[in-house]
């Protein structure tokens, strides 16, 4: 109550002053009324103003009062210089906004704890090679029999939870025509209980839903999906959904914002692990899920890790014994060890792929922020210089140093918080935009980007940090003013030095940002120019499904029918398009020898496929309709190089070695050029193509269109497929170009954003350079005037300025480039065929910065050259 009245009094000081004054005056009036002498009463009362001050300080909060005064004063200062303030605020807002956006993304992807009970006790298991020289990542997927053993071992101390990847699947709640897409994930039945997630409707899985393989055809929806797809309709309970030939009954909706454990993917439908196909539960060579460990209270993580390690070892040892690969593969297997890492934020491939990239972007935006801060600091320094007399006056009449610091810092805080406000708006808009760029149309990234106390806290911390960064130095300098010299009109050199230092730092950061942006742009460009080995031009891929496996003859009929559709130039069939991410591989044995350590990719294709993909035929012949699978094979050059070093490859045979040592025999009918299968960066890998024969329930029609935009006839072709043969349904239709581009998405994103920040950094540094040079010419006007009066030529003066500037910029950019060399080592994994020492990559940022510096210096130089000695000397 009292505190509140004291706060309120700060804002109604006039009436408070009147109040106190009246009371004191009434005391004197009373004294006189009592018959005392007026002068004596005044004397007895003491100093009126000092009593008044003391009462005031008691009845309000003095520091709040001075802060309020400074706030008002600071605001007036900002409004007084509208243009400079707006420029400072906007440039700072852009930088803060970018930082906030980067933080929102990184927080959502890497740090935000999952909405489960005790996320701090959640760990995830992964595998690692004990030898550090092995560059292969063994991943974090496990086999179910191993999972069972491990779970039993730590029962009571920790709960192990199996969670498969979230897959985008086709499903329908009615007929085939109403097929839609959703993310589905297999989870252990006890996951919901362990995570403390209760049903919002119906029930969620329990241990009893996870007993017998294939016996639990039930589905639990996420709340978000229930809301989005069913508008929270409670009658969804008991409805069935169908994917392929499997039918699941919806038994409940999980409450809360929980959408699985993969940041970047939101699971819509949870299924029991027991429903995973391909004998997944009993096979010990099938790795298909991650293992989360929820520790019991008070149980230490190393303890559990130590408990699990021997079981894992034993399991791996068993696997190595029956390994079909070379002896080397078995040795490698024995090198594996189990690692347990904290995973409060969940685990996803997106984290692995984009985490480092986002981190680099975060650093870049921080640098941009520093550049912006340096600008504002220069502005504040210039202003403090301009206000030297005012501040000196304040000091002479008794202003304390702390109070002066507060005065300047409060003004900076105004700038920072206004900028943070605008920046928050920018981040609000920009973060989802970047998320959109990460995803691909048919595999959208769904990151939850709430604006909660974490983002708010970061924003406020950043505004405060900026205030201190650019406000404190000018504030301390301003407060250290020496009234005598300032009032006499001296010009301290230290200010200039400070500004020069800031400009050099700006140039350095700018050069660093430009340098890194150049690396990313070169990476993206080189990657997109990688030879593919096939032509993606005008190529449309139609991923098609049938309710049951159908023989290849029927598939071929549909492919033939598609050739008659107007706008279609050619069509072919394959199991899946190149570069989709789908793969099939195995070990190769030639002449009955032990399998080679390098695996080969395989793909089933129709006879027209090679010609349509425009992959060159180098030796032998194409497939013919009478080729059989297994039997005939086309192989690429890498295959020949790897396995058939000597002799002509056509007509030779090889074996594909399957599990438990079964061999399938093939004869090479032709050799084709190398084509990329699923990776943009690696060298071309051995690949063998087999005839498209047998029964398929999923395959891809490839179509080369006549028009340059293949998507123009996409809907026509999609409709044509079921017309050609009922039961065939297109599940996914994409251009081959889009399939390739999804492999360079990260690099494209990095290069676009880095370019954007480079431009921002450049313009900010340009503004900073312009401001400082213009200001320094202004300060030197007198000196220049004198020099010109005694005969200095304008060219000499301009030359001096330019040399001074070049020295400054050279200094800064050298430091920046050195920083770039150092940092390049940390971003090596994000680069492709680009090294930091590339001269071309160095020249561009340097040239840009020098050009910018000259441009920014032009107005100042013109001003200097045009100085009229007479006016300049009359200035002061």
């Amino acid at each position: 109550m009292s505190l509140w009245s004291r706060i309120a009094n700060v804002f109604r000081r006039d009436s408070l002053n009147r109040d106190i004054e009246e009371e004191l005056q009434s005391h004197l009036a009373e004294a006189i009324a009592e018959g005392r002498d007026r002068a004596e009463a005044r004397r007895a009362f003491g100093t009126l103003s000092s009593h008044r001050e003391r009462s005031r300080d008691i009845r309000l909060i003095p520091w709040l009062e001075s802060l309020y005064d400074d706030l008002v004063f600071g605001w007036r200062q900002i409004v007084k210089r509208k243009t400079t303030s707006a420029a400072a605020i906007l440039s700072l807002a852009l930088a803060i906004g970018a930082c906030l956006a980067a933080f929102r993304l990184m927080d959502a992807m890497l740090w935000r704890p999952l909405p489960i009970s005790a996320p701090e006790r959640l760990y995830v298991l992964s595998k690692q090679f004990r030898r550090t020289d092995v560059k292969v990542d063994p991943g974090d997927n496990f086999e179910y029999p191993l999972f069972r053993q491990m779970r039993a071992r730590v029962k009571g101390q920790a709960e192990l939870i199996a969670v498969s990847g979230a897959d985008r699947i086709d499903l329908t709640y009615g007929s085939d025509e109403e097929t839609e897409k959703a993310y589905q994930q297999y989870v252990s039945g006890w996951m919901f209980h362990s995570f403390g997630i209760r049903p919002a409707l119906g029930r969620v899985f329990s241990e009893n839903d996870d007993l017998t393989p294939g016996a639990h055809p039930y589905a639990v929806l996420s709340y978000e999906y229930w809301k989005r797809r069913f508008a929270e309709d409670p009658t969804v309970l008991g409805r069935t959904l169908r994917t392929g030939s499997d039918v699941y009954e919806i038994i409940g909706v999980a409450e809360g914002p929980f959408t699985g454990t993969e940041p970047g993917r939101a699971t819509d439908i949870f299924l029991s692990t027991m429903m995973m196909k391909n004998d997944a539960i009993v096979r010990s060579d099938y790795q298909w899920f991650r293992i989360f460990v929820q520790l019991g209270t008070g149980v230490s993580a190393p303890l559990i890790s130590d408990e699990l390690q021997p079981i894992f070892r034993e399991f791996v040892e068993e696997r190595a014994k029956v390994s079909v690969g070379s002896p080397r593969a078995a040795t490698l297997l024995r090198q594996l060890k189990l690692v347990m890492n904290p995973a409060p934020a969940g685990v996803s491939g997106l984290q692995k792929e984009y985490g480092p990239a986002l981190f680099v972007l975060g650093v870049l935006v921080m640098l941009v922020l520093l550049i912006a801060c340096a600008n504002v600091a220069n502005l504040m320094t210039a202003q403090a210089t301009a206000r030297r007399r005012e501040i000196a006056l304040r000091v002479s009449i008794g202003a304390g140093r702390l109070r002066l610091v507060q005065l300047v810092v409060v003004e900076c805080a105004w700038l920072a918080f206004l900028a943070a406000g605008i920046g928050a708006g920018f981040a609000w808009w920009a973060a989802p935009l970047v998320v959109g760029m990460i995803g691909t149309p048919d595999n959208p990234v769904r990151l939850i980007l709430p604006s909660d106390w974490r983002v708010l806290g970061f924003g406020v911390a950043m505004a405060l940090g900026c205030t201190i960064l650019f406000g404190l130095a000018p504030a301390l300098r301003a407060s250290a003013v020496k009234p005598v010299s300032a009032l006499k009109g001296g010009d301290p050199q230290t200010r200039q030095r400070m500004m020069r230092l800031l400009v050099a730092a700006q140039v350095a950061f700018c050069a660093l940002v430009l340098f890194v942006a150049g690396l990313f742009m070169a990476t993206s460009e080189r990657l997109s120019r990688q030879p593919m080995g096939f032509s993606a031009e005008r190529l449309l891929t139609l991923e098609t499904v049938t309710p049951h496996p159908l023989p290849d003859v029927l598939w071929s009929q549909v492919a033939e029918h598609l050739r008659t559709v107007p706008g279609v130039e050619a069509s072919a069939l394959c199991e899946w398009p190149l570069m989709t991410g789908g793969s099939w591989n195995g070990f190769i044995s030639v002449n009955g020898a032990a399998p080679s350590p390098v695996a080969s990719y395989f793909l089933s294709v129709s006879p027209e496929w090679r010609a349509m993909m425009k992959i060159p035929l180098l030796q032998g012949r194409d497939f013919r309709p009478d080729d059989t699978q297994p039997g005939s094979a086309l192989v690429n050059e890498a295959f020949v190089r790897q396995y058939l070093v000597t002799g002509s490859p056509v007509g030779r045979s090889f074996d594909v070695v399957l599990n438990e040592g079964h061999r399938v025999h093939y004869q090479i009918v032709g050799v084709v050029g190398d084509a990329r299968y699923r990776d943009m960066r690696d060298p071309m890998r051995p690949t063998a193509y087999f005839p498209f024969q047998g029964n398929y329930s999923r395959a891809t029609f490839l179509i080369r269109t006549i028009s340059a935009n293949p998507l123009a006839i996409a809907s026509a072709v999609r409709a044509e497929v079921p017309r050609a043969r009922p039961g065939f349904r297109v599940s996914n239709i994409r251009t081959q170009t889009a399939l390739i581009e999804q492999h360079t998405g990260r690099e494209r994103l990095l290069s676009i954003l880095a370019l954007f920040f480079a431009v921002v950094a450049l313009s900010l540094a340009g503004v900073g350079l312009y401001g400082v040079l213009d200001y320094s010419v202004l300060r030197q006007q007198r000196e220049i005037g004198i020099r010109m009066a005694i005969g200095a030529k304008p060219t000499v003066i301009a030359q001096g300025l330019v040399l001074h500037l070049l020295a400054l910029v050279l200094e800064g950019s050298l430091i920046g480039i050195i920083l770039g060399f150092v940092s390049a080592r940390f971003i090596e994994t994000l680069l492709f065929e680009v090294t930091a020492t590339d001269v071309g990559l160095l020249a561009l940022p340097m040239a840009t910065i020098f050009a910018l510096a000259l441009l920014a210096a032009l107005p100042a130089i013109v001003r200097a050259v045009r100085t009229d000695p007479a006016t300049a000397l009359h200035l002061e």
Binding site: E23, E30, E34, G46, T47, R54
Partner: protein
């Protein structure tokens, strides 16, 4: 503790008005603070709704002119006690037409008075004991 008082207020006090002390037992500034509060609270408990001048007169009168409050510093003390919630003030218009700010005790003030009185007694009896024994 009792003689300590509010250090900050006292510093102000001696800075600004060193020359203004009355020749009285209040000459020692550190004893004034505590006893002034006590006296004001006591007076208000007996005779509520007094303004500052009347309070000062009352102190003089009832102490037989021995104690004289330093007139000016009475008001900061009153305002402090008001902010502490011991007394509350209101403006009244007197018969003479002048406005006056009058004070009365709050519940917290009554409690404070009781505390201060008992503390005063403890201290004075202790001082007396010292005077007797030495």
């Amino acid at each position: 503790m009792f003689f300590g008082g509010d250090a900050k207020n006292q510093r102000n006090f001696s800075d600004t008005e060193t020359s203004q002390y009355q020749a009285s037992i209040m000459a020692k500034p550190d004893s004034l603070q505590g006893s002034l509060d006590l006296l004001v609270l006591k007076i208000l408990s007996r005779r509520p709704r007094l303004h500052g001048y009347a309070m000062m007169s009352a102190i003089e009168e009832s102490s037989g002119d021995v104690l004289r409050a330093d007139e000016g510093s009475l008001y900061p003390a009153l305002h402090r006690m008001e902010e502490d919630g011991w007394i509350r003030a209101e403006w009244v218009t007197k018969d003479t037409g002048r406005r006056a700010r009058i004070y009365e005790l709050t519940l917290a003030g009554k409690k404070q008075l009781a505390d201060e009185e008992s503390r005063w007694r403890v201290v004075t009896s202790a001082v007396n004991r010292v005077l007797r024994t030495v």
